[in-house]
């Protein structure tokens, strides 16, 4: 119970600072617009939108969320606040989950927006069922938000940031993006649920795995 409360208040704090700044999410979305525009500019005439939309969707969401996640711990380090957060009675899990939850909001928004922008840019008339897209993007967003939180911590923490660890976080996401793109492309091509449920379940599995691993690892990354 208290754990939930902690997660909530940490997420609240992060989101508050985020929204205070007014347009950070709007700006993150503009990153996705830029990507979509460039995609359609360089590919639009060569391929049919439905064939490529899934790959581009996941690529854009991945890039946007990683580039946003790098800043997750900036506010914490601006004047050493993270140290005090770690010294408070809050459990490490709750810190990780709270920060990941705060990250989830922009990632989800970017995912939704990119989906919308891609169907627009590539003029995909029947982009498939929105509910199915959501069922696939949601675990993806959860996984990316959690991975982004870890990535942010690693690249921020000076002793770890010096290593190649941050670079290694990216490839770790390949399975997530791979299955996500596979599933999404089937939704774009209007395949039946039977063909989608497999990768969708897998995605949920991966997402939960990433969150669990993150919550576990977080302790070791933060303890001195």
């Amino acid at each position: 119970m208290t754990s939930l409360r902690w997660i909530g208040v940490i997420a609240w704090k992060d989101l508050r600072a985020e929204f205070r700044s007014g347009g950070r999410i709007a700006a993150m979305i503009s990153f996705s617009v830029l990507a979509c525009f460039l995609f359609s500019f360089s590919l639009g005439s060569l391929v049919a939108g439905r064939d490529v939309a899934a790959g581009l969707l996941w690529l854009t969401v991945l890039l946007a969320s990683i580039s946003g996640a790098g800043r997750t711990f900036d506010a914490e380090e601006e004047d050493g606040a993270f140290r005090h957060l770690l010294l408070s009675p809050v459990s490490r899990h709750a810190i990780f989950l709270g920060k990941a939850a705060a990250n989830l909001v922009p990632v989800t928004l970017v995912a939704a927006f990119t989906l919308f922008a891609l169907t627009l840019f590539f003029r995909i008339a029947a982009p498939g069922s929105v509910a199915l897209h959501a069922a696939i993007l949601l675990p993806g967003a959860i996984g990316l938000a959690a991975a982004g939180t870890l990535f942010g911590l690693i690249s921020r923490h000076s002793s770890l940031g010096d290593s190649l660890l941050p670079a290694l976080t990216f490839p770790a996401l390949v399975p997530l993006v791979f299955f996500g793109a596979t599933a999404s492309s089937r939704v774009f091509l209007d395949r039946p649920w039977a063909e989608i449920s497999g990768p969708a379940r897998l995605l949920w599995g991966i997402a939960i795995g990433v969150v669990a691993v993150g919550a576990l690892l977080f302790r070791y990354l933060t303890d001195d």
Partner: protein, 252 residues
């Protein structure tokens, strides 16, 4: 809010309240004349100008679309120049003018971005084409003026915010030349210049006359809006300054 205004002549505030009133009237007059002219153009478009052969009735959007685009470019250019002046001379008036012009650029840009797709839906069968450099650049120009206002509010020190915004306005202008030549340099759907081309205007007389009338209307409207907005901005800053207790020392 902006203590710089108190410095005397160099930092603006020449246009005090008395003057501001007169300027405001001028602004309202210009804006009203602009609106009247644009209404006249609507009448001309509806009842006078001949229908263009190839495109039919939709082509009449032309008389709003094109002057609005030019007004948008003009506003953007004014915003850029005023921003440059602000940075260069550190004159507060430059910033106020830039704010006024940037807002006008947003307004006229919105008109272009609404009329263009409506026209495109019928002329090209699609609202938008992302492969089209002009459309994209116009949209981005509009975004960068949105950024202009976002950035002002997002910096702790308002002076820095104004400078950052000024830089954004200046960079934004740089894309206008490319926007203009983009349709000539690259094969595209969007029509090439019909007025400002080397061989002179390639329009029938009535069309040109209507276009020019509309253009005059939009220019007046721009000048009017610009003046009104400038006076308001000036007033707001003046009021903020005087309403502030003399020794506000620090916070609270």
């Amino acid at each position: 809010m902006h203590a710089q205004e108190a410095t005397g002549p160099r930092h603006g505030m020449r246009i005090g309240h008395g003057n501001g009133g007169r300027l405001a009237y001028l602004g309202f007059g210009l804006a009203a004349a602009g609106v009247a002219t644009i209404l006249l153009v609507h009448w001309l478009v509806a009842f006078w100008v001949p229908t263009e052969a190839a495109q039919g009735v939709v082509q009449r959007i032309f008389y709003i679309h094109v002057p609005a685009a030019w007004a948008c470019f003009l506003a953007a250019t004014v915003a850029g120049l005023a921003s440059a002046a602000y940075l260069w001379l550190e004159d507060e008036r430059g910033d106020m003018a830039a704010v006024a012009a940037a807002e006008a650029a947003l307004v006229f840009g919105a008109i272009v971005l609404l009329t263009g797709p409506l026209w495109g839906r019928i002329a090209w069968g699609a609202y938008w084409d992302w492969g089209e450099l002009r459309l994209t650049l116009t949209l981005l120009l509009w975004f960068s003026y949105l950024g202009y206002f976002l950035i002002r509010g997002s910096v702790a020190d308002p002076r820095k915010g104004k400078r950052f915004a000024a830089v954004v306005a200046i960079i934004g202008v740089l894309s206008i030349p490319l926007n203009h030549v983009s349709v000539v340099w690259f094969r595209s759907l969007h029509p090439e210049p019909v007025v400002f081309n080397p061989e002179g205007p390639s329009l029938p007389g009535e069309m040109l006359a209507t276009l020019l009338t509309s253009l005059a209307g939009f220019m007046m409207l721009f000048l009017g809006l610009f003046t009104i907005r400038y006076v308001i901005e000036n007033h707001l800053r003046h009021r903020n300054r005087t309403s502030q207790p003399d020794n506000s020392g620090a916070l609270t």
